[in-house]
Each structure stands twice: as structure tokens, then as C-alpha cells.
Amino acid sequence: MRRGRWRTIVALYAAAAVVLALGSGVATQAQPPRVLVVAQSADMATGDPAKNTGLATIAVLANIYDTLVHRDASLNLKPGLALSWRAVDPTTWEFKLRKGVRFHDGEPFNAETVKFSFDRMLDPKTRWPGAGALQLIKAVTVVDDGTVRFTTSQPWPSMPRFLGYYGMIVPPGYLKQNGDDALARHPVGTGPYRFVRWVKDDRVELEANPDYWGGRPKISRVVIRVIPTDAARVAELLAGSVQLANLVPPELFGALKTSSKTKLVVGKSLSVFFVIYNLVNIAKDKPLADPRVRQALNYAIDRQAILASVMHNVGTPVATFCTAVMTGCDTSIPPFRYDPGRARALLREAGYADGFDFSISGTSGTYPGDRDITLAVADQLNRIGVRARVHVTEVGVQLRAVLDRKLPEDGWFTRFTDFFGISTIIPLRAFYSPGEWSQWRPGYAPFNQLVEAAQAAPDEAKLREVSRRLQLMYKEQAPAITLFTAPNANGMSRDLEWTPRPDLELTMFDASWNRR
């Protein structure tokens, strides 16, 4: 009797297994998916672009909203909601707007909507975290229905570059009628995709906007899912249930490269890894006060070896604070070569033949490969006699110490990114003495003057020239151990065609299925 019952149970299980197996077989033979599923590690914070500047938020909202200026995957400026722009005088930019554009709810787009959107963004009551980047804008004036002028408090030749990233245009009528919270929950823009549904911390669903001014997107439905664990994000790719996952960490590159279903696609990077020296009020007799010592540590680092061992060869050593895709970055300046002999010689020259103690504040899991890179740097420094130690800290605590200029360590490992793509912005934030994150205080006056000159450059030719001088001075003064670009690595399904953007926006307008 008992044996009979067991037999029945086993038979049932076997039958269930066969059904499930057949079921899955049928599923894998189905048509290529029409819905494009994209996965990122965090959810968008809000549907209102004037409330947040987080990466995950902008990545999604760039599908729903438009900016006046667009940028292609190499960051070349292209017409967006504005067809053209010109400097009327050094402190006035005029934008000619696209005609006949409508928001997803039917509301017309015009010069008034541009003025409304910028006034709202820059109003302190809106609490937009990005307002500082556009603080030079003094006023926005409507010239006529299709023309708008921006007055700036000083000449600002790079303004269109800034408007290629910030400044999403929102619908004034919708906001007035439904309030700010409505836009946060249900975004309405003019972009290539319309908002359908948002399940917080799970997914945002989008559908193609058939009336998009740039033409109907090739992929009609996009779901942007939130999958916080890197391994699970990659597992979804391998299983075929997700077709694009961004910011894949180096340890998972291998799986993507070997699978027959997936590929690893590396985009251009706007991020650089540094170990920035703590030079806050540094006493003259300290080792790091001497530029020769600061250079020596740069010569001690074998960047290629770290890239090979930690980053699976994704990344490019950089000479200074900028990457090749940034405007004005002179790529003919060579990065510090790996030369431990020269490093030791410089230390001897500076009077530190026996090395010195050097502590680094690092993070773990904040940036791809962060902990391993920092440990590798410390190890390589130890080989030239510098007694390097790494203190891993929670990133919030580290940033607070940096902002307060109370970092207990001699240097901090970090990644600086400039989403506007201008070569002189990272030095302004990270190395210009009054800069928010700068640990170079009181710093080096000629460097500060050059940073100021770069901000006041009347045109891009001048910017290029100043930027080159700034880079040469940076390399000589070496306020940091400059490492390499941070990866912009994406796992993609083999049948998806899409070029990763340096600004990490997940705009799916130019994505398409590649049916071979």
C-alpha cells in the first residue's frame, strides 16, 4: 500500500517535470521578443526631471523627455527640441525651436514651455540638485513662439553642451492642472517613448511615441527593470529574459563573452579613477608636499597590469583628468609610464629613499572594481618602498570627510565623472582649490588661474588651448595618482543593436533588433 503511494508520487513528479521541460522548450522556440527588457541596478527616483539628478533617473527619463540640444553616442551636439542655436552676444544664446512638437498628452511645445521648464528648474523652491551646473543662466526670455533667449551672467561658450545633458522640458499645463507629485508619478514629455506604468523598485514600462518628431522608434515597447544584484542581472541576460544590462562589473565580463546568446559591449567613458592626494594645508616637510614624490607614486603604478588583472582589460590609462571623448582633452599627452626605477630615483632625490607611510581611503562596491584597484595600487607602491595601507570606508562617510577637508588618510580612491563631456570640469571640481571636492588647499596659484581661464574661455579653440596647458601643469604637479578610465561595460543580447552612450543614458530610440 505504502509502496504503491510512493510510486504514484514519483510518477506525478516525473510527469510534472516532463510538462515543465516541454513548456520551457516551447517558450525558447518562440519569436524573438518584441518587448525590449533593459536592466539597471537602481530604480529611477522620480518621474520629475527637476527633482533628481541621479544616474538611474536620468537614464530612464531621457527616453520620455527631450532636451533642447541632443548628443549622439560620441557626444557631438545635434538638434533636439531646438533646431539651431547661436550666440547673439557673449552673454546671450538664442535657440530656434522645432515647430509642431506636442507632449505625450497633446499639450503643444513652444518657447513658453522652455521658459517655464528652466524657470522651474532654477527656482530654489524646486530643490533641483543640478541647479548649480546651470547657475550662470540669469534669465530666459521668449522672443516669439519659436525663439527663446538665455541671458548668462558671464560669457558661457559651453552652454549648449550643458543643455545636451541637463534641461529636460516639462509640460506646464499638465503640471498646473495636476501638481508636481503627478509628474513625479506619471512623467509626460515630448520624447521618443511614452510612459505606461511604474512599479517602484521593479520596472518602468514605456511604449513608442508614434508621433515623435524624430520618427517612430524601431522598438515599440521597452521595459526598464531594476535588478540590484549584478550576478542576477547577468543571469537574466544569459537566460534571454533581459536584452541589455548596463554597468556590468569586471568579474562578470567572462560569462557574457563566452555565452552564445550575449555580448559585452564597451562604450566610451566619461569617468576617471584617481587616488587623490590629501594636500589640505600640508606642511612643507611632508613627503607629499614635494611634487617629485607625487610624480614618483605615479611612475610606480603599472596601469596595464591592474587593467589586465582587475578590469579584464576594459579601460584606458589616462594622462590627466580627462578622457578622449571630452571636448578639449589633448590625447597626445602620454600617461605616466610604469617605471619603478624612475620612481625610486625621484624618491631618493626628494630625500625619501627609505619610503614613507601612505594611507589610502577606499570604498568597496561603490565603483566597479574599486576595492581591488585600491589594493593593487597599494601593493605596487609597497614595491618601491612606500608603506601603503588601504582603509575601506563606507562611501557616505568618505565623501563627508572629503567635503569637510577632514580626511584622515593621505589620499582617497575615487572616480570622477563629467557628464557634460568638457575636459576642464573635473579639474574645476576636484583640483581647483576652492572646488567643492578639492583637497589641494591652499593649492597652486598658477593651476587655479588656468582653471579660471578655462571657465572664461570665449570659444572652443581657446578652451582647447587652455585645457592643454592645464593638463601639462597637472601632470607636472601631480595632485593625484591618475589611473585609467572607469568602464562603461554593457551586457547585451546578440540580437540587439545599440551603441552605449558615454553619459550612460539608456535611450532606446536608436536601438533595433538584428535578426540574422
Binding site: T53, K200, V226, A239, G396, R429
Partner: protein
């Protein structure tokens, strides 16, 4: 009984005030929300403006007093990061957490009690050894490892179950098994011990001697008496599950309270951290109170003792 209830409620309220205070102090000394809210392109003025807007430039005591006053009115404030009411964010995540917790509790009970009973009724046999080995594996396997293993086998290789995300019942299977399996292991060991103790009692022998069938002895007499310690553990476990199971939620991209709370901690989104803590603590205390009351139902001796008191 009502006096007992009032005492328990007062104690719970004090515990909650303690939790809120500790979280408030720890958060405010540990990092700066403004520096994490902005990108590196932000200026110092941006950060100052954000600090002022959220009252973070005020003395800590003022911030604390305002916060307590607001909570007393049932207002948990607005998220710094999302600009939406904290109560709305919690409501959005609580449902998913309840679903996962209930499913995991079911796994813990069914699997745990079954294994424990099998082991206790066949003490010293191969079944006992096998059941306790499974229990040992269940407690010692880290959930991230078991989770990823299941994902690879059932999600990637076999394709039977969705790997992650929130959706139909099939999305619940793996996370509930991983989360519930961990508690099932504890429950099975406890059920076994407790049942062995009861099975050695005189009244069980009497029951058997008067000719009751094994099943009646086990389910009607033994199990009910052995259930009390198991119930305590299940209550505590359920409370923990409702607080959010961060690792399981992260691996399986389950949009629950654990993830909401941890993202808020990492981003120093103070109002959300505080809101999640308050709700988490309240749920935990409520579950414990319910378990205490259920004791009386399971064991009439306790009910009469409470009445006498």
C-alpha cells in the same frame, strides 16, 4: 487580560521610541545626505541650499523635536531622493514584503514541521539523519549562495522559473524557498526536539496503551503540545521576514521593504530610513503581540493562568 494587553502596548511604544531615537542619532552622525544627493558637478551652494531646504542646517535637537512631533501626527515626511511622501513609498513596498513573508512562512511551516516530525517519529533512523542533515545545510548555506545556485539551475539552465522580479506566483517560488528554507531548518530542529520530549510523556504512552492510532496520538496529542516553542520561533521569524529580507530581495529583485530601507540608508535618505524603521518596528512588535495572544488559544493552561493573574 486587558490589563496585560495595555502593559504590553505601553512597553511596545517605549521600545519604538527607543528604536526611532537610536536610528535618528546614528543616521545624523554617520554621513551627509547633501553630498550624496548631488552629482560631482554640484557646487557648494547647491549642497548648502539642499541642507537648508531640508532643515539639515538646524541643531540636531531641533531636528529631533520636529521629527518626533511630525511622527506623532502620523506624518513621516517626504523622501529627499524621490520627492514623494514616505508613507506612499512604504505602502508601495509593504505589499510585496507581505507576499514574500507569507509564502516564506508557508515554506518554513510545511517544510520545517514535516522534516521535524519525520525525524522525531523515526528517531535514530536514516530518515532522522537525512532530515537533520538537510536542516544543517539549510541553516549553514548563505542565502545569497543558495539564491544564485537556484537562479543558475532553475532560471538559466532549465528555464523553469523567472530569475528575478515581481509578478505572478512563479516569481515567488525561488525567493520564498530561499527565505523560508532558512527558517524551515530552524523550525525542523526545534520541532524534532520538542516532539521527542512530548512523545516521551506518560499521557502519550497512555494514549497508545488505550489503542489510539499512531496518527491520532501524533497529530491530536503530541503535535499540539509540542507546538508552543515552534510557534514562538515562527512568530519571531515572521516578524523578521516582514522587516524585509534584504539579501533575498536584492538577489531576486523583489521590490520589498528591505531594499527600500537599505537604499535609503546608503543614500542617507533620512525620512525614508526613519519611516521604514518605524513601520518595521511596529510590525515586529505587532506580530510578537499576536503570537503571545495565540499561545492562549493553543495552550488553554496559559489562558487560565493569564485570567488568574
Amino acid at each position: 487580560m486587558s490589563g496585560y494587553l495595555v502593559r504590553r502596548l505601553a512597553l511596545s511604544a517605549t521600545a519604538m521610541l527607543g528604536v526611532i531615537t537610536i536610528v535618528f542619532v546614528l543616521l545624523h552622525v554617520s554621513g551627509d545626505p547633501a553630498s550624496l544627493l548631488v552629482t560631482q558637478d554640484a557646487t557648494r551652494q547647491d549642497m548648502e541650499r539642499i541642507r537648508q531646504a531640508y532643515g539639515l542646517d538646524r541643531p540636531l535637537s531641533v531636528q529631533y523635536a520636529r521629527f518626533i512631533a511630525r511622527v506623532a501626527r502620523g506624518d513621516l515626511g517626504y523622501s529627499y531622493r524621490q520627492g514623494l511622501p514616505v508613507t506612499e513609498l512604504i505602502a508601495d513596498h509593504l505589499g510585496a514584503t507581505f507576499e514574500l513573508a507569507l509564502a516564506s512562512l508557508a515554506v518554513a511551516i510545511l517544510l520545517g514541521v514535516a522534516l521535524g516530525m519525520a525525524a522525531a517519529t523515526r528517531r535514530g533512523s536514516g530518515v532522522d539523519t537525512a532530515a537533520m542533515t538537510v536542516a544543517l545545510l539549510g541553516t549553514s548555506m548563505p542565502s545569497f549562495w543558495l539564491g544564485l545556485l537556484l537562479i543558475i539551475v532553475f532560471g538559466v539552465k532549465l528555464g523553469w522559473l523567472p530569475i528575478s522580479g515581481y509578478g505572478g506566483w512563479d516569481h515567488l517560488v525561488m525567493p520564498a524557498f530561499v527565505l523560508g528554507g532558512f527558517y524551515a531548518a530552524q523550525v525542523s530542529r526545534l520541532t524534532r526536539t520538542s516532539l521527542l520530549e512530548v512523545l516521551a510523556q506518560d499521557y502519550i504512552r497512555t494514549g497508545r496503551a488505550k489503542g489510539l492510532r499512531d496518527r491520532v496520538v501524533l497529530f491530536k496529542h503530541a503535535l499540539r503540545n509540542a507546538a508552543l516553542p515552534v510557534l514562538t520561533v515562527l512568530g519571531l521569524s515572521f516578524g523578521q521576514m516582514l522587516g524585509g529580507a534584504l539579501i533575498v530581495e536584492s538577489i531576486f529583485a523583489w521590490p520589498g521593504m528591505g531594499r527600500l530601507a537599505v537604499q535609503a540608508v546608503l543614500g542617507r535618505d533620512f525620512p525614508v530610513v526613519q519611516g521604514a524603521t518605524i513601520v518595521g518596528a511596529a510590525v515586529f512588535l505587532a506580530v510578537n503581540l499576536t503570537v503571545d495572544l495565540v499561545y492562549g488559544w493553543v495552550d488553554p493552561r496559559l489562558r487560565s493562568a493569564a485570567q488568574r493573574a
